[in-house]
């Protein structure tokens, strides 16, 4: 049987725990963020389009001659 190479385990503080926390965060926070945004994107354009049409509603001063 071949002996295992003498490679130590990665340092938990530097590699294992940060990676674990990041992967859990991807699962529970970051991917839900993307999923919520995608789900909402289906409805959002219709919602925005329903808003009242906007017209310029400004008074004008200091006229310049129209060329």
């Amino acid at each position: 049987m071949t002996d295992l190479l003498p490679i130590p385990m990665p340092d938990a503080q530097t590699f294992l725990l940060p990676s674990r926390a990041y992967l859990l965060s991807m699962r529970d926070q970051n991917l839900p963020l993307r999923r919520a945004a995608l789900d909402d994107a289906e409805v959002l354009p219709r919602d925005a389009a329903r808003q009242r049409p906007r017209k310029a509603d400004l008074a004008d001063r200091a006229r310049r001659p129209r060329r």
């Binding site: 530097t14 529970d28 963020l33 919520a36 008074a59 200091a62």
Partner: protein, 290 residues
């Protein structure tokens, strides 16, 4: 691919001289974009508010979505202000960097003449020189312009600190999602060196943005660890800043478009007409009705 643009609602020569046809076309689209941004912020805020209070990670996710959408509205405003500050406006609109927006926001607060100039609000002299106005109308327009400037300044005062403190973090919600949920940084077994770099006693929920830089000379990878507070109060502030940016953009673009389409150097929005004294309001109504 080449697009031909025919300007029908304004004097093409005047538009070309002032901002160029490309920027004018963009300005015409901005009111619809603002509606979209506003709806997006409000929808994300509602999703966050309706989320299960015990689901800390999901609440954090939805808080980051509010942050992302609010910051996009602020970036739209900053980009437009930067573009309109100098020629060629359209090139500036499509090529600006985040630092350009930061510098522009800083200038708005260092130079009190810049905001009224960018918003094309009339100077007292311009109002005095304008023919065909009664004294009462002149006075009322002066008040309305002052109120508008005060409102815009207040909106910018909300927008700027939001931009300065969180625009890098908001970018991370768009690219790479380099965030650790605060929960996994503080609950056992923790996140190792990330946890050690954090200040203690963060109010939850919060997220830990990770900024990694490669030091090629030293052959190191350095990761900076920060914290973005995502409590209900923070999310309320994101919403407020995003909506303030929408309002400020609407006044900016409404005035610019109206000026371009009627060959006017200055415009006074009627957005805040209801805040004038009744007598002044009555004096101006014929102008706006016309």
């Amino acid at each position: 691919l080449q697009l031909k643009v025919e300007i029908q609602d304004a004097d093409p020569g005047y538009v070309d001289e002032k901002v160029g046809a490309e920027l004018y076309v963009h300005l015409r689209a901005v009111p619809a974009i603002v509606d979209f941004r506003r709806a997006a912020i409000l929808r994300a805020f509602a999703l966050h508010r309706e989320c299960d209070a015990d689901d800390e990670c999901r609440r954090g996710a939805l808080a980051l979505l509010v942050l992302q959408r609010a910051m996009l509205a602020v970036e739209d405003l900053g980009g437009l202000l930067y573009a309109l500050d100098e020629s060629p406006s359209f090139e500036r609109l499509i090529s600006h960097r985040l630092d350009d927006i930061s510098a522009l926001f800083a200038r708005l607060f260092a130079d009190p003449t810049l905001t009224p100039t960018l918003y094309r609000l009339p100077t007292p002299q311009a109002l005095a020189d304008e023919p065909g106005l009664s004294d009462e109308q002149r006075q009322a327009l002066k008040h309305l312009a002052s109120i508008t400037l005060m409102r815009v300044d207040a909106q910018l005062a909300i927008v700027r600190p939001f931009w300065d403190s969180l625009h890098d973090e908001a970018k991370k919600t768009m690219h790479g999602l380099a965030f650790v949920a605060g929960r996994y940084a503080v609950e056992p077994p923790g996140a190792g060196m990330i946890t050690r770099a954090l200040q203690r006693d963060h109010v939850r929920p919060f997220a830990v943005p990770l900024t990694t830089r490669v030091d090629r000379l030293g052959q190191h990878v350095n990761t900076e660890v920060g914290a973005v507070a995502l409590t209900e109060a923070d999310v309320g502030r994101f919403r407020t800043a995003g909506l303030a940016a929408c309002d400020a953009t609407e006044v900016l673009v409404g005035g610019r478009l109206r000026g371009l389409e009627t060959n006017h150097a200055y415009t006074v929005p009627k957005t805040y007409l209801d805040q004038l004294a009744p007598a002044h309001r009555a004096a101006l109504e014929p102008l706006f009705d016309a």
